[in-house]
Amino acid sequence: MTKYAYYPGCSGLGTSQEYDSSTRAVCRALGVELVDIPDWSCCGSTPAHTVDHLLSSALAARNLALAENLDATALITPCPSCLTNLKVAVHRMSDREFRLQVNKLLDKPVDRSTPVKSVLQVLAEDVGPDAVAEMLPNKPLAGLKLAPYYGCIMNRPPEVMQFDDHENPMAMDKLMAALGAEVLPFPLKVECCGASYGVARKDIVAKLSGKLLEAAEDLGAHAVVTACPLCQMNLDLRQGQAGASAGRKFQMPVFYYTQLLGLALGVPQSKLGLSKLCVNPRLALDAMHAAQAEQREREAKSEADKQTLKAKAA
């Protein structure tokens, strides 16, 4: 089995606990072995690169160096912000001069170039939606209408991220479709939600997240599904603020894609952390169950009709 060095990211210990725990559970269920990077530290996130690129790359690179000992196929992380920082560090350090400078800041220098990927990329490419669909012939999420939202930096810039289409990514769409969900063509898949300005400029986040929720609601989505802790927080926790900005009241559950994968795969609720979401996920799940019941009814009726026809013919 391939082994991956796992980097949870700081928010995985706090505001996105449920993303971390559901990611671990889903990986286990799908046979993806994760080994935590021992004593990992913060990648620097957005604040570091707004100060200096050397500092930012060094903070990320400390973790790259720690991962080298694990003899893993790749370093993977669920968080796009961590992903970007780690990938940009690897990208820039392909320049020898820059790598020397970064290594000067570190205790343990980076020797090798470890491939960095998102957990999503591993699930989409190494496991694959076909394999997932095969495990779930009953399509457990049938009837659930989803707006897949990737966030702005999961795929951009393409030269660095090298994953999926940068304007119309499909990795999450395909995984969700494999669960039986109805994936809507969400047009703002890669639009920014307001990123980390929630604290300092919540007006910005309210406006941008409001646009996203509006688009999802107008498409008739039961829920948004996302792969980014910051996006999830902006859309979920700040949904009231976003609604005020858009001039309407949203009731749109915002899932991590790993929660839905886990739900479909029958992962225990305690690992999924659905109760940690702000907007009640029941809203979406009830709609899904209602749709499923309706579908069953339709099937039963058409079956009954057939029987009647047969009987009549007899």
């Binding site: 700081c10 928010s11 210990l13 706090g14 505001t15 996105s16 606990q17 449920e18 004593d39 990992w40 530290s41 913060c42 620097g44 996130s45 957005t46 604040p47 570091a48 690169h49 707004t50 100060v51 200096d52 690129h53 050397l54 500092l55 060094a58 903070l59 400390r62 400078q101 000067k104 800041l105 570190l106 205790d107 702005c152 930096i153 951009r156 810039p157 393409p158 940068h166 890669v190 639009e191 920014c192 307001g194 990123a195 980390s196 300005y197 929630g198 604290v199 300092a200 400029r201 919540k202 007006d203 910005i204 941008l208 926790l237 700040r238 009231g240 603020q241 109760s275 940690k276 702000c278």
Partner: protein, 185 residues
């Protein structure tokens, strides 16, 4: 509106510095406006990003380093990804921010305080301590009432720890910051 003496006011050294730090050629920009068109933050900017590029070509250092836009760019990479001339615009925005910091310009104080507080937290604990970060931010900015509405939503979820997640190598992380500061002197 002021009249700009485009010859006298063009700071060539500034252009060269931005080009060196960003590894981008600002002359490649032909002002198509695609960056402004795609930028989700244009509504909040005081100078749209395509005009940031134009002012940069014209060497207008003061106006650029004192503008709000460079503090409001979230590096969402829309501009970089769609630029027909393959300019890494987001990186240029980052570099302008670095220069503004170094030269003491801060047009969006709260943004800067948030970022600084974040990094302080990382330097101290090795990882971000979210609760501590918020507390310090509120203390520094005095913005006590902001986001009060969110408290009741998030606190019962039990996600925000009141204790930092210290790591063993936190001094190693602090060392990175220390050595970085030494390189800046």
């Amino acid at each position: 509106m002021e009249v700009v003496d485009i010859h006298a006011s063009c700071d060539h050294e500034f252009i060269a510095q931005v080009e060196a730090e960003s590894e981008q050629k600002v002359r490649l920009c032909y002002q198509c406006g695609n960056c402004t068109a795609g930028c989700p933050y244009t509504f909040a900017y005081d100078i749209p990003v395509s005009q940031v590029m134009r002012l940069l070509q014209a060497g207008q250092k003061e106006r650029l380093l004192s503008c709000k836009s460079i503090w409001l760019c979230a590096t969402c990479e829309s501009c970089t990804t769609r630029c027909p001339n393959e300019i890494d615009v987001a990186r240029i925005m980052d570099v302008l921010r670095h220069m503004a910091r170094r030269e003491g310009y801060v047009s969006e104080r709260n943004v800067k305080v948030f970022w600084d507080t974040f990094l302080d937290s990382v330097e101290k604990h090795g990882r971000v301590f979210e609760m501590g970060l918020l507390a310090t931010y509120v203390a520094k900015t005095g913005r006590f009432w902001t986001d009060m509405d969110l408290g009741p939503k998030i606190l019962p979820k039990g996600k925000l720890s009141f204790k930092p997640h210290e790591i063993q190598g936190k001094d190693k992380v602090a060392e990175i910051f220390k050595r970085f500061r030494e390189t800046q002197q």
